[in-house]
């Protein structure tokens, strides 16, 4: 009999938990507020009160749908074009931009505040189908203490990385599956051009570059500069973000150090620009436009850095202290035009893969 009681209890518990889920997840819109839905990737974050403020001012309720990483999210938007999952899409970067624009995923909207964005970031200035929201530079990070102990200058350019003193020090990500991995490949394409990048990678390989699948393994497990890799890591150079050093300080316990444990090789960077746009066929166009405008407000722009560890595009947006103190601004990142990326990306990745095998 006792067994049966247990069984009944378990089934009941399942039911209750299930119903709770229905209750919490299935909340339909209360008729007064209209929903505006933001479709984005997994890494989108925002401060709750900033979002609340927008909701209060605009009268809309924001629903955030996250799906996969940046690439998967964009491709889902492409697949569902004309019958979009929401009103605004955030998170298409310059590597994916051409495809999204060619497929006609976005409807034009001249976002308020666009004039405060530097021209070189406005890649669709003619038609305004997408609005730049933030930038993030993918750069080689270095472990300060390693180079201090060894008394070597840390590298600062792509050329440096193939020098003998940096042999067996760098770990990169798989360009086929990892976003920073692809960006770093693009940086080398931007720097050495169609003819030169492969021979550069050959040299990099002879110089003992290590390759892992994702940023997590590279940064957390292999990089000696990260807190988790300090003891077990073996590579003092890693492909990561220009914002990683501030993050490393931000997410450490104790007093603010004079200098972050890691630094950035400023000549190794590729700039990812993230765009947002109004989805073609959106159910709530007005709300979508309002939401897009909000993404370029100073409030949101200043909220960006500590939520997604990216830099705002708004000229007047102020950076938090941890960025100004421990981060650097990259003046001349390497560049590849979105159309070229769209056209050649698959081939480059395939060639790169066979080079590194």
């Amino acid at each position: 009999m006792k067994r049966r009681t247990n069984a009944v209890a378990l089934v009941t518990a399942l039911g209750v938990v299930g119903l709770t889920a229905c209750g919490s997840g299935g909340g339909e819109s209360d008729a007064e507020k209209k929903d505006v839905t933001l479709v984005t990737h997994q890494s989108f974050e925002v401060s709750r009160d900033v979002l609340k403020e927008f909701e209060r001012e605009s009268g809309y309720r924001v629903k955030v749908l996250r799906a996969g990483d940046a690439g998967a999210a964009v491709n889902q938007a492409v697949l569902s074009k004309g019958r979009p999952q929401g009103d605004v899409f955030f998170g298409v970067d310059n590597a994916m931009l051409s495809k999204a624009l060619d497929e006609g995923v976005f409807a034009p909207h001249k976002t308020k505040g666009l004039h405060k964005v530097p021209d070189e970031l406005r890649l669709d200035a003619g038609q305004n189908r997408v609005t730049p929201i933030d930038t993030g530079d993918v750069c080689v990070n270095f472990d300060r203490s390693y180079f201090r102990d060894k008394d070597i200058e840390p590298p600062s350019t792509l050329d440096d990385l193939v020098k003998p003193e940096y042999k067996d020090l760098l770990v990169v990500q798989n360009a086929a599956t990892s976003s920073p991995g692809l960006s770093f490949l693009l940086a080398t394409v931007g720097k050495y051009g169609e003819d030169g990048w492969q021979s550069y990678w050959k040299k990099l390989r002879s110089n003992g570059v290590a390759m892992v699948d994702g940023w997590e393994q590279a940064y957390n497990d292999r990089f000696t500069g990260s807190a988790s890799g300090r003891e077990k890591g073996d590579r003092p150079l890693v492909v990561s973000y220009a914002s990683s050093p501030p993050a490393e300080v931000h997410y450490s316990e104790g007093k603010a150090p004079k200098e972050g444990p890691t630094g950035v090789a400023e000549g190794t960077c590729f700039r990812q620009i993230e765009f947002a746009g109004l989805l073609e066929g959106a159910g709530n166009t007005e709300g979508g436009k309002a939401l897009l405008d909000f993404l370029l407000t100073e409030e949101f722009q200043e909220d960006l850095p500590l939520n997604m560890f990216v830099r705002p595009v708004h000229e007047d947006a102020e950076l938090p202290e941890v960025f100004t103190r421990y981060g650097v601004e990259i003046d001349e990142p390497h560049n590849v035009a979105p159309e070229r990326i769209a056209e050649n990306r698959d081939r480059w990745v395939k060639q790169w893969t066979s080079l590194l095998k």
């Binding site: 069984a7 997994q42 799906a67 996969g68 086929a176 997590e216 957390n220 993050a247 490393e248 560890f309």
Partner: protein, 586 residues
């Protein structure tokens, strides 16, 4: 009426009537006699039972997957066969297929080599902590690969235990993949083979020894043949799981190694090259379909008459140096290969900057940037995970139970096909299902794309095979005449199921429910590909934390993983308490 008038008469020629459902076969030759007795009413009951599972799989599996594959194969309303042929014959595809096949074969062989002694130990030996250990070895099976990959590297990789003490590093090359597959699938073999092994009557082996067979000969001649179908079934499950391996290959294989599953993910999610993805999906489908056919065949053979005893009576304390050595060696393997990585996880979650402590666990509750949506209170994540898993389990158990009830009576190829269909979701990539959902469930009344229900639905797709496989052997073991006895006593078919079948399968159902629960608790793929409102589950929260630089994030990820592990382990331990005597296939 006069009694003599009722004398029955025998006439020579049978009247010329034909059976409405004229089923073939003769009861003389041991053909499925039950099938012969099926009347139309039974058939309609069976169809009724199958209606919901068929609708469920049709709507949430067949339709989305077929649509996304179809979209890849057709362009402008024409079949792109030339393109398909090009993909199939390209050296890249051949290479991926080859790697997928051989690593699965090698992983399966290695898993069997390591886990079969383990199956024996769990089946035949009694030792303290056996239940706990059996739950522990199952934990890896349901843990998300993101987490495990990291822990696994920590043990076998550079600077890990092996490296420190023996200078052996296994994180490079294919060995890491194979060992990780052993790590994940050890429990599959222990449960499939050990479940049967524990119930084989040891007296048969003893009889062989009395007749003069050596211990090994007795094992080879008596036990192995009885066990062979279970071994084959277990091997095929492992093969299936490793054939469709995704996370392990991604984390440990880098750019050098890709399975079909990884390639499908890349082509679909990253490149949106649907034609290539479609062809690769079909290749995988064909391979998995073939595997399932072989599996179904071995399972059918396995269900032959065996002399089974209660497991508790078959297990003994080990005796003699040889048995103790075997037990000890298995415990070492389990400690190094299975428990080790799990402990690494726990260790890391406790390794706070100022020495061991609960700092990271505290940080989960008092995060640095509490205002951000980035922060998921751990209790909320646990709650989300439990809610999703509960709904997924309810769906999986409902659909799976109906399907199992419909499949209880064996029948023709149609029903067997249905049986195989239930297994297919195990062999189809989450990204295919996720993207399929996106382009099919986009119209009212089925515009579910933004609905929270999609996540449990997708998880239930994976859970149903477990439910069916666990319940079916038990249901099939229920003597049909018990149901008839209930019917004659006045129980309607539904009532008879409730009164007769349900009490007998209740424990199997609980075990199945627990498995479905644990699987969906650790499920990551579908959860990630399906857009959903802001309710991250434990694995998703772990992934988010891992994806950001900083010591606190990493430590919190480890702490959350440990919590996830504990939730899994507790679920499985609870299951051990209600484990059926007659184990299912898992």
């Amino acid at each position: 009426m006069d009694k003599s008038a009722q004398v029955a008469t025998a006439r020579s020629a049978p009247p010329d009537t034909t059976r409405p459902d004229g089923l073939p076969g003769s009861p003389e030759r041991g053909t499925p006699r039950r099938a012969l007795r099926r009347t139309r009413r039974d058939l309609s009951v069976r169809l009724g039972l199958m209606a919901l599972p068929v609708a469920f799989f049709g709507l949430f599996f067949g339709y989305p997957v077929a649509t996304i594959v179809g979209r890849g194969l057709r362009e402008d309303g024409r079949w792109q066969l030339a393109r398909a042929a090009e993909v199939v014959t390209s050296p890249d595809t051949v290479q991926v297929l080859w790697f997928t096949l051989w690593q699965a074969a090698a992983s399966t062989a290695l898993t069997l080599a390591i886990a079969l002694p383990g199956a024996y130990v769990f089946a035949r030996f009694d030792f303290p902590g056996k239940r706990l250990l059996r739950a522990v070895v199952t934990v890896p099976f349901v843990l998300p690969t993101v987490v495990v990959g990291s822990a696994f590297l920590g043990l076998l990789g550079r600077g890990g235990l092996l490296d420190d003490h023996f200078g052996v590093r296994l994180d490079t090359g294919v060995w890491a993949i194979l060992l990780a597959h052993v790590f994940f699938n050890y429990a599959v073999v222990v449960r499939t083979v050990g479940g049967l092994w524990g119930q084989l009557d040891p007296r048969q082996e003893e009889a062989a020894r009395v007749l003069g067979a050596s211990r090994f000969a007795a094992w080879r001649r008596v036990t192995l043949p009885a066990l062979a179908p279970a071994v084959a079934a277990g091997a095929l499950m492992v093969f299936l799981f490793t054939f469709t391996s995704f996370g392990v290959i991604q984390i440990l294989g880098g750019a050098r190694y890709a399975t079909l599953e990884v390639e499908i993910y890349r082509q679909t999610a990253q490149l949106l090259d649907l034609p290539t993805a479609a062809v690769l999906s079909l290749l995988q489908f064909a391979a998995v379909g073939g595997l399932l056919a072989v599996h179904a065949w071995t399972v059918r053979r396995r269900e032959g008459a065996l002399r089974l005893v209660d497991e508790r009576h078959a297990a003994r304390r080990p005796s003699g140096a040889g048995q103790w050595a075997l037990l000890a060696s298995q415990l070492v393997v389990i400690a190094v290969l299975l428990v080790g990585p799990l402990l690494v996880l726990v260790e890391r979650s406790l390794a706070a900057p100022g020495g061991y402590g609960l700092d990271f666990y505290r940080a989960l509750n008092a995060p640095v940037d509490a205002a951000s949506t980035f922060v998921v209170p751990p209790l909320a994540a646990v709650g989300n995970s439990l809610s999703y898993a509960a709904v997924a389990t309810l769906i999986a158990v409902t659909v799976g139970t109906l399907a199992a009830a419909a499949l209880t009576h064996r029948a023709g190829p149609l029903v067997r096909g249905f049986d195989a269909l239930l297994m297919l979701p195990l062999g189809v990539s989450a990204v295919t299902v996720g993207f399929g959902f996106l382009i099919t469930l986009d119209e009212p009344p089925l515009d579910l794309r933004a609905s929270w229900i999609l996540v449990p639905l997708a998880q239930a797709l994976v859970g149903v095979p477990f439910v069916v496989r666990t319940m079916l052997p038990v249901l099939r073991a229920v003597d049909d005449r018990l149901r008839e006895a209930a019917a004659v006593l006045g129980a309607s078919p539904l009532r008879a199921w409730r009164e007769v079948d349900f009490p007998l399968v209740r424990r199997a159902m609980l075990v199945a429910a627990g498995f479905a629960f644990a699987v969906s608790l650790g499920e990551f793929g579908a959860t990630v590909f399906i857009a959903r409102a802001d309710e991250p589950t434990l694995p998703v929260a772990v992934e988010r934390l891992l994806g950001r630089a900083g010591e606190l994030n990493y430590g919190q990820a480890m702490a959350l993983s440990t919590i996830l592990m504990l939730v899994c382990a507790v679920t499985l331990l609870a299951l051990e308490r209600v484990r059926t005597n007659r184990s299912g296939e898992f």
